[in-house]
Amino acid sequence: MMIERIELATPDRRAGSKLNLEGLTKTFGAGAEAVQALAPTDIAVTEGEFLAIVGPSGCGKTTLLNIVAGFETPSGGCAVLDGRPIEGPGSERGVVFQQGALFNWMSVLENVAFGPRACGVAPDAARESAQAMLEKVGLGGFVENYPYQLSGGMQQRVGIARALVNDPAILLMDEPFAALDQQTRELLQEEVRGMWRETGKTVLWITHSIEEALFLASHIVVMTARPGRVKAAFRCRFSESPDLLVASTPEFTAAKREILGLLRSESEAAQRQESMI
């Protein structure tokens, strides 16, 4: 079996977890206006896992990532990384945004060197590691350009390089390829797959694309409509396949059907919520 249902928050997984989310909830607003974005959510991620979270729009998956990143505080429960509770943003958690988070007033090299500089690395050393990281993502020839001069795909490479250069303990990706065209997205997905295998980084990846999740992730979480909670979790082995065209195999299609079935009813619920507003 290429995918199998598992429990994500077993005592075993918790014990050896890199990132541990326990009873995490988030409510926006107060009183009659209050909207619960996240119902109690339990997820344990162990070192080196690539956990993709899929769910209908507005299910709180971005809220979940924002809490782990430290941009938002949970209303209840706790998020713990490497044994330390998460309080505010920190350089040990690298974040890649969908788009629009690069600094247009800095060259590509300065953008990537920003992290090491902010963490106290000397200017020369910071530029050197930025240069090396940019070469790794195939942008060695664009270091002097400004982000707005690059295509969307190249901008996302800069975003990834910028997050990786700090060597974070975990990489948080918030639908990083959602705004790209199909070809660019597939290319970058292949590269991320290779990069993850090479570095063994722990990754938390938010997406609305089931194919993307199946192709990249070692673990997949399906979330319910708002308020979001874990509906089902899977161990997924397609990312281990050396075949880049694994997405066209019957097993892949069967796995996609299974998750799509789970997601369909949630998407309908999400639609109803939206039309009620």
Binding site: A69, G70, F71, G88, P89, G90, S91, R93, G94, V95, F97, G100, A101, L102, F103, N104, W105, M106, F114, G115, A118, C119, G138, G141, Y146, P147, Y148, Q149, S151, G152, G153, M154, R162, A163, N166, D181, Q183, T184, L187
Partner: protein, 280 residues
């Protein structure tokens, strides 16, 4: 390098050359507008070759204005040289304007960053803004006398709140994502401010400054309306009393040139510093 990225690069190049061609065409059209305007002026005033459609007392010919300018250069106006009048006006304008920028921009940034400061200072600034500042002129004369102080203050009165609010709005509209990105890269408060918030604000601040220039030039005329005996606007105003329309026009042109060249100068600085303007 992926194929799609290279394609995108090529498209960007083509867009660049088309853009340059369009800019050249725009310049031509702008030049033609000015030329047409000038020719109409020559036409209706006769230029000495045919009887003027408009009498010189209402609209002197370009030549007459030029001659008036040369005469003013040589003999000055009412006891002072033309340069003295230009200089004193420029001093009032420049002092008021640069004080507004030097104090207003940091204050606006503070208001944008700090909720407490905003609660204390924004309502009074917003309350003062809609008051027509010309109405305050008599009050300023009583408070600050007839010297340069009252003139500088009347120029600064509308410019200052405009610049403060432009800077404040610029801070408020900095994308949260960029600040979050800086924070999760390890940046502290000062780094976030100096390397992210401040540069991100610059386009908005420059827009505010350029908008303020035309208002400041207008207020210069108001400042020299009463209780003065020098300045370029005062020269125009008193010349009008004697129906010396040519001198009035010399003053008008000098003030127009002042406003226009300042705007161009700041635009040039803006293009140099804020090269990413228009790209969020």
């Amino acid at each position: 390098m992926s194929r799609t990225d290279i394609l995108a690069e090529g498209e960007a190049y083509d867009a660049g050359t088309t853009e340059r061609k369009a800019t050249r065409r725009d310049r031509w059209l702008t030049g033609t507008t000015f030329l047409a305007f000038f020719l109409v002026w020559v036409g209706v005033t006769g230029a000495g070759h045919w009887p003027p459609l408009i009498r010189p007392i209402f609209l002197p010919s370009p030549l007459a204005v030029w001659q008036a300018f040369l005469a003013l250069l040589e003999h000055g106006y009412q006891g002072n040289s033309l340069w003295y009048h230009v200089g004193i006006s420029f001093y009032r304008f420049a002092f008021a304007f640069s004080s507004c920028v030097l104090i207003g921009v940091p204050l606006g940034l503070l208001l944008g960053m700090n909720r407490t400061a905003r609660a204390i200072l924004e309502p009074p600034i917003q309350a003062i803004r809609p008051i027509p500042k010309l109405a305050l002129l008599p009050l300023f004369l009583i408070w600050f006398g007839i010297g340069n102080t009252s003139k500088i203050i009347i120029i600064a009165a509308p410019v200052f709140p405009l610049i403060v609010i432009a800077a404040m709005q610029a801070v408020r509209s900095v994308s949260t994502k960029k600040i979050q990105a800086a924070r999760c890269l390890g940046a502290g408060n000062w780094t976030v401010f100096s390397r992210v918030v401040l540069p991100a604000c610059l386009p908005g601040i420059f827009t505010g400054i350029r908008m303020a220039i035309s208002i400041a030039v207008t207020m210069l005329v108001a400042a020299e309306l009463t209780a003065t005996s020098d300045g370029i606007a005062w020269m125009s105003l008193t010349a009008a009393e004697f129906l010396s329309t040519d001198i009035v026009l010399v003053g008008v042109v000098i003030m127009a040139v002042l406003g226009f060249s300042l705007d161009r100068m700041i635009r040039a600085i803006e293009l140099r510093i804020v090269h990413w303007s228009g790209h969020e």
